[in-house]
Subunit: 323 residues, 2 copies
């Protein structure tokens, strides 16, 4: 069975006119005026695939926009407008059912906090399917792309990885997290923070960026493939919560950090001379920013531990057609 | 149970910044530059709701774009870019299954004929759900809106109505169409012609427009509500195929013409002084354009026959949450 990426590559990737970034980045770019580009992206959440059918609709409304804001963050774009295509089973649309009201509240609470307007959409009945499109603005030529990582760039990660993956394992009763950790991880899973301000501020500091939705290994590999570069990262430098480091088994930690998915943190590459500026930006925005490795010439992703031992990873990331 | 329109009105219609057409027209409008606006729209097709599960994937790919092109036509915009969010059941994505290849061919055959680029999307697994977003260009301030019908405007219809509704009744074996009619009606249902050129040429001739997707009565009512106007139309002037007029019962004809849905023809209103120019445009584009009534002051939709008898219609149109 082909993967999501195979399907796009085989059936839907066609050449597009000049000056446009087409399929294959976090968002497409179209020229709006002589000085402004629009970044456009769409993400679908499917019941039973991306969320449990009984997920709180407020959180679902919030997350359906958050995952799209994250694509804008990865491009360095300022999100401006959104459209919402909702396919709803009839049991959710009864007059007495607060589902839609709560979903809408979650969506708008996040939209309003970024002054993103909901300008259109479509509503139909069928199995629950939530599709959001987002449009952001960016100065012409400034978008953070996947294909511009340079040899010797530092590789940076915002925030912590693996929390959403741990929450999922807790929900599936594969592990049991103590209350505080559980709350923190569930928030990361259900109401992720898109790094919208960070992305916009990185456009003059970073060479390339991606948001980590499928897992660090898979998403960093997208940068490497598009940029025709290699990378070496130190797994022990990848940021995670102290609880995780102290209490969970090393294979589980590595699985969650490298292939967890649903992190919605940014992975970006930047020249060494911008280290201080990036560190200062992290302090200003109150976002931890961590260097985890280097971009190299070649085409491999090398993952090592602090002792220089090579780590192999069977399941590189989250793919909707394999998982 | 609330209708699709109630849901949008209650939960998702919020005020948006100046100079933007938000929820409630065929497309939203955002300002791209000092002289250009972008029209943006999205439409979802759900298996078992908008199409039979065994629909030919080539036709489905074609139609999923066509219904979005029709929204651009209704705004008078030139379609430029599209995004495709596909939710696919696993049985359609097997390596030996030609479904995706045929779907993609249908989509691109239509896209290429209008030079519409597919610039992004999302692919995930789940119950079949096809969502297309489209972005078109239009000169600033020129978009055809629903809210600008003027008293004494002529009401015009492009092409013929009711063909898709008849095809559906044939497929459900409620009626039996002879082969030639069946072919014609099925083409209207499965591979509708969006009136893209017509829409763009109407921006200097028409006051308001909508595409007929939910049925003439429902869609004309959207213009009347948005424009705060009334209308009177003559049901006997509404264009349909000669076969229909000669062979089908009057109640069935009226039901199909007024509430059929899936026509994707344009309904537009224009001042009387543009009658000749509009007639010439129809000849130039080889599209029949028919006057069916007048816009009036007030707030009612009056439907009469050629004898001046009032027609009442129980089921005004197609609504995904009622039908």
């Amino acid at each position: 069975m082909p993967s999501e990426f195979d399907i796009i590559e085989r059936f839907f990737k066609k050449s597009v006119p000049n000056e446009i970034v087409g399929i294959g980045d976090d968002a497409a770019i179209i020229l709006a005026s002589q000085t402004i580009e629009f970044a456009i992206s769409t993400d679908t959440l499917v019941s039973g695939k991306h969320f449990f059918p009984d997920t709180d609709p407020y959180q679902l409304g919030f997350k359906s926009l958050a995952v799209n804001l994250s694509d804008m963050a990865a491009m360095g774009a300022k999100p401006r407008w959104s459209l919402l295509a909702l396919t709803l089973p009839k049991n959710l649309t009864g007059n007495d059912n607060p589902w839609l009201s709560n979903f809408s509240k979650g969506f708008f609470d996040l939209a309003n906090s970024y002054q993103v307007a909901l300008i259109g959409g479509d509503t139909t009945s069928g199995p629950l399917n939530i599709n959001v499109q987002i449009i952001g603005e960016i100065k012409r030529g400034k978008a953070l792309r996947r294909n511009n990582a340079q040899a010797d760039d530092d590789i940076w990660i915002s925030g912590q990885l693996g929390n959403a993956a741990l929450a999922l394992r807790h929900e599936r009763q594969h592990i049991i997290l103590p209350l505080e950790e559980k709350t923190r991880c569930l928030t990361a899973l259900l109401m992720p923070s898109a790094r919208v301000e960070l992305g916009q501020r990185l456009v003059d500091l970073a060479h390339s960026a991606i948001d980590i939705s499928d897992g660090l290994a898979a998403d960093l590999s997208h940068i490497l493939k598009a940029s025709e570069k290699a990378a070496c990262i130190n797994i022990d430098d990848v940021p995670c919560s102290p609880f995780v480091k102290e209490n969970l088994s090393q294979p589980l930690i590595r699985q969650c950090l490298l292939a967890g998915g649903d992190d919605y943190e940014l992975c970006f590459t930047a020249p060494e001379e911008n280290r201080n500026a990036i560190a200062s930006l992290g302090i200003e925005l109150n976002v931890s920013l961590t260097r985890i490795g280097k971009i190299l010439t070649g085409n491999q992703l090398i993952i090592e531990d602090s002792q220089g031992r090579s780590i192999s990873l069977d399941n590189k990331g989250y793919d909707h057609f394999i998982s």
